[in-house]
Every structure is written in structure tokens, then in C-alpha cells.
Symmetry: C2
């Protein structure tokens, strides 16, 4: 059966890196992958055309797709939009919510070829391989009530951090299962010494633990987790946390590698449908200059093949191709280093396709 892939280039460097992903998808098709690829607008690009960061036709196509590849959204051009609902980010948040993509997998791993790119001392990050499992459709990102209103003669802003037991259990299971497939260590991050919502979080994780006896569950306060990531990141295997803490910690973890331009991510729903995107953002400062790193986007294609399309062998081919271009000394500007050859976005795409 032909599966449907929706490509959403988005804003900033999104279109450039998506072009390389599109070429890679074609190469996969030539290699026998039975998929149909469509494109649509999202984020600022969609706002500019339709006045809406998530137009109905885009959402419909997304719902019909087996998997979605997203470049990146947002940029200074839209930062001044008064109405938060029109901002590019709402396109992304809307996709997550409407498709129920609650399970966000954010690997932070260090490519041995890029060890020197890390700001940490090499011995602290060599072999780093953390998987952050972030809850993506709940928590303070979506909690009600929210807003800005007048109270006692002044304005007050408020948001609600909320999780139900079933939401926590659902993401907890994803994390425990992930830990079973990896190093069997799961660290749940909360702020249970201050926030009631995370007391419930911790309780549910504890309740699930006996069902996964081979996984060693630990708990860490979020402030300590931020410290431990800086101090000794290799102590972590799988980390599970809520939407907001996950946003912060996954970016910090990704940056530990020094090569965030290499890291893909997956956002999955209960039926295995997924959205795949690079961990990095839309990088408006370098957009349109053919210098962005397309590898996180191309590795997102590999992640999609593995998690949503069940095409492990082809995923491995892509990952091996990326490894070999790094071995050959090719580097985009973000991961450039002495003695290596700095190349453009398109040249990097060419090289991966050739090695594929």
C-alpha cells in the first residue's frame, strides 16, 4: 500500500533543508520505497499566504498522511504579531495538538566525527547518547485557563500547568518502553518539591515502574537535571518529562553535543503516526544563503522510516550515508572545523545522496 508523506518546509532555513529531504525521499522511492509525497504550507509561510499559520487544507493533508516531515517555523518577521493565535509557532502547536502527537522523542547523541564541536571537555561527552522523551500535547503549553486580563486595576498574565493521570501514564509508557530498548535506565524529571502537578507526575511514574521491572526508574528535580546535564551528561539514558521542562532540557542536551544541526526528532501519536523535524529552529539569520546544515532534516527522514513506516533497513542506509560524508570530512558552516571541507547546503545534500 502506498503510504503518504507530507512535507511542510515552513520558514527560515526550512525550505532549503526540506529541498534536500525531498531529494532524499525521491532516492528512497527509486530504491523501492512505496510512498507518495505532498507539500503544504505551515507557520509564517502559511500566515503570509492564507492569514493562518495552520490553514485547514494543511491540517487535512496532515491528518491524511502516514507521516509528516517539518522543516522549521518562526522568525522575527512574525514576532510582532499581536495575536498569539496567528504566530507561526501556533501552526506547529496546532499540528501537535490536532494530531495528538503526545510523544516527543529527542535524541541527543554525539557523532564521534564531531566530538570537538562540543563546548564540554571531550571526556565528558564522548559516546554521549541520551533520549529525552517529552510530553508534547499537554502541560502548560495547552492548559486552560490562560490569558492576560485586568485584576485590581492592573493587568495580570496567567497560564495553567495541568496534567491528568492518563496523560502522564501514556507518556510514561512510551518512556519505559524506550528505556527497555536502550540502556534500561529512566530518569523522570519533575519539581515535586514545589509543584502539585508534578507530585502527581512522580506518583504515576512510580505506579508504572513495577510493570517494567527491567528498567531502573529514578527521579530528579528539574533544576538539578539542568545542572547534571552540564556536569556529567553521560549519567543519563532515557529522560522523561513534561512539555515545558522537556523544551528546556532537550535543547540544553542537544547543545551539549555542539552539533544541534545534526539532531532529528520524532513526535508520535497513539496510532504510530508521526511528525519528524530537526531539533534546531528556523535560523532566520542564515536563511536563503545555502549554508544551513541539512543533515538533521535528512536524519529526520531516517527517523520517519524507522518509527512510522517500519523501514528500518532504509533508515540505516541513510544514517550510514550521513556517517560516511562526515568521515569524508564534509562539514556545513555550523560544524566546520580546521582541516575539514566547509560545504553548502546543496553540496551536503549531493554528498549524502551519492553515499546513499
Amino acid at each position: 500500500m502506498t503510504r503518504k508523506v507530507l512535507l511542510l518546509p515552513g520558514d527560515g532555513i526550512g525550505p532549503e533543508i526540506s529541498a534536500q529531504a525531498a531529494r532524499l525521499l525521491q532516492a528512497c522511492q527509486s530504491a523501492g520505497l512505496d510512498i507518495e509525497v505532498e507539500e503544504a504550507l505551515v507557520g509564517g509561510a502559511a500566515y503570509d499566504t492564507f492569514g493562518d499559520p495552520l490553514p485547514e487544507q494543511t491540517l487535512d493533508k496532515a491528518k491524511a498522511a502516514d507521516a509528516i516531515l517539518l522543516g522549521a517555523v518562526g522568525g522575527p518577521k512574525w514576532d510582532k504579531l499581536e495575536d498569539l493565535a496567528k504566530r507561526p509557532e501556533k501552526g506547529l502547536l496546532g499540528l501537535r495538538k490536532h494530531l495528538g502527537l503526545f510523544g516527543n522523542l529527542r535524541p541527543a547523541m554525539l557523532y564521534p566525527q564531531l566530538a570537538s564541536a562540543s563546548s564540554l571537555k571531550p571526556e565528558l561527552v564522548a559516546g554521549l547518547d541520551i533520549m529525552i522523551v517529552r510530553e508534547l500535547t499537554g502541560g502548560i503549553y495547552f492548559g486552560q485557563p490562560r490569558g492576560i486580563e485586568e485584576r485590581n486595576g492592573e493587568r495580570v498574565g496567567f497560564n495553567t500547568y495541568v496534567y491528568s493521570e492518563s496523560e502522564i501514564e501514556r507518556i510514561g509508557r512510551v518512556a519505559f518502553e524506550m528505556a527497555q530498548k536502550r540502556g534500561k535506565k529512566l530518569c523522570s524529571v519533575d519539581k515535586a518539591n514545589v509543584l502539585e502537578v508534578t507530585i502527581l507526575w512522580r506518583e504515576v511514574m512510580e505506579r508504572l515502574a513495577p510493570e517494567y521491572p527491567d528498567v531502573e526508574l529514578s527521579h530528579m528535580y528539574v533544576d538539578n537535571a539542568a545542572m547534571q546535564l552540564v556536569r556529567a551528561p553521560k549519567q543519563f539514558d532515557v529522560v522523561v518529562t513534561g512539555n515545558m521542562f522537556g523544551d528546556i532540557l532537550s535543547d540544553a542536551a542537544a547543545m551539549l553535543t555542539g552539533s544541534i544541526g545534526m539532531l532529528p526528532s520524532a513526535s508520535l501519536n497513539e496510532s504510530g503516526q508521526g511528525m519528524y523535524e530537526p531539533c534546531h529552529g528556523s535560523a532566520p539569520d542564515i536563511a536563503g544563503r545555502n549554508m544551513a546544515n541539512p543533515l538533521a532534516m535528512m536524519l529526520s527522514v531516517a527517523m520517519m522510516l524507522r518509527y512510522s513506516l517500519g523501514e528500518t533497513a532504509m533508515a540505516e542506509r541513510i544514517e550510514a550515508a550521513v556517517g560516511s560524508v562526515l568521515d569524508d570530512g564534509l562539514r556545513t558552516a555550523d560544524i566546520a572545523s580546521e582541516g575539514m571541507q566547509t560545504v553548502t547546503t546543496t553540496a551536503m545534500g549531493d554528498a549524502v545522496l551519492e553515499a546513499f
Copy 2:
């Protein structure tokens, strides 16, 4: 006029490091400082004795004091207390709230003698000197409503992230003034692309900016701030943010130095009354073993002299004494390194007193 200092040793290593602070206070008195020092219980220690982490007599003494020195609170012994209101942390949070200590100053600076302790490459942290200004009596730590309750047949946990314009303005002014005294750069950290409460935060910071024309104000999303701290921490001078983000980022920033055992902090209210404490926690694993680093606590005395008692010269004497014991090669276990002499808590205290 004799000023009152209240010493609250607290839990874990709190009493050991407080003992060194007490000796230092005596030395200050001998050197002519007109203060009266009292002690009281807080945290787990207070719970064990009075069944309350913040007994009324402690709070009364705190209110009457010109300045408070706090060791640390908390530990695994009390982590299982069902009632969050009885946990040691509530003693600390109660003091902050009752005394109106809204302005939390958390410096992250690298002692040149300890440069190698950082997990970051030396060139990225040499000369690091960041001041994080964290709002301490509002935000999600204190927001109502909060709790865990039954909804639609399952339990739901919830907290409220809330700030009023006047709360934001108050902490904003502290931060702008701090920037004026330092490098004149202020970075306000929020998540204004998702959270309404931080849209208001950003707006108020923007409104204040023209009153401080010599300060360059910038804004950063919290996830990016966590990344930038890891990537290039020296880009920051003063950072201002809310209670929760400040908790996370100040710990990450402190850990960048590799010597969190060296870092004091101040929490001030509108009348200049302050509470001073080390950035590190109660470290229950090493409590009672005479190996904790007392320097953050002794430097907290210096910070108190500077900010609450207006005794700059004596503060500088303490800081110089700490510098000279480091120069002499003395190190507690947490900052031990090859070729240096590892010493106990009390021996470190002795050395500082001798150099004072």
C-alpha cells in the same frame, strides 16, 4: 545601632557550613562590626522538633532581623512526607514569601584558581561573570489555584503560572539597576511564543527600558537561553527571569563554573532586608562528614555585609581571604584537583579566618 543577624543552619550540610559562618561573624564582631547573632530552626530540622518547617518563633525572629543567613534545607528523610506543606522546602518558600524577598541575585562567576573545575572548555568560561536576577515570591511557585483533584473520574494535578504588571516591574527595576552597575547588558528570558504570562513579562521589560537608556535590553526564549548558557555563556551579563525559569537557569549557570560550592546568593525585599544562602543544596550524602565546602556560606556572609549591612570594606576582606586560601592551594573535596591540598570543612574555615 546594633543590627540583628539570624542564622538558620537548616538540614544536611547546613549546620556544618553554618558553624564556619558563625565563626566568621564572630571575627567580624572582633573587627568592630556591631551585630547581634541569633540562631533558629528551619526546614526538616524544625519539622523534626516542632512539626512545622517554619515555626512561628523562627518567622518572628526572621522578621525582626536585618539579615538572615541560611544554610540549606531538605533531604531524603522528609521527601516522603505526604503533606507538601510540611516539607522542609516549605520553610524556605515561607520565609521568601512572608518576608517579601522577591529579588533573588544569583551570581555565577568563575574563580580563576578553579578554572579547571568547569566541565566546559577553559576558553569558554575563563572570566565568566553572570548575574541571574530571579523573581522569587511569585510565578508558578505561589500561583493559585493549585492542587490535585478528581475530574472526570481521574486525578488531575494543576498549578498556576501568574504574574501581575507590578510584580514584573519590581523585579525588572532590580535587574536594570544591577545591569547599570555591571556590564550594562540585560537579557530577559521568557517563553513569549507560547505563554501569555510571559508576553506580559516581555511587554513590561520593554516599557521599562527607556528609563534605563544606558542598558541594552534583549529577550531570549528560555529553551534558547538554556542552549546559549551551554554554548557560549560569556555572552551574558545580567539575566532577568521568573521564579521557575530562574530556578533552572541559575542552577545550570552555577554548574558551568564547576564549583557551585563557591557560589553565594542573596534574596532581597523592598526595604533592603535580605536572606543570604549558598547556591548549593543540603547535600545529604556528605552531611556530617566534615567534608562540605563552607566557602559559599562564608561568601554569603560577605554578600550580606555588602547588600544588607552596607559594610563593603568588610565584605571585601572576606572575599580577599577566600581568594588567598585558594591561592594557597587549599581545596575541599568538591573542588579538589591534582597538586592541591584537600582539606576538611573546619580546616577550610580555619584558613579563611586566619587570612581574614
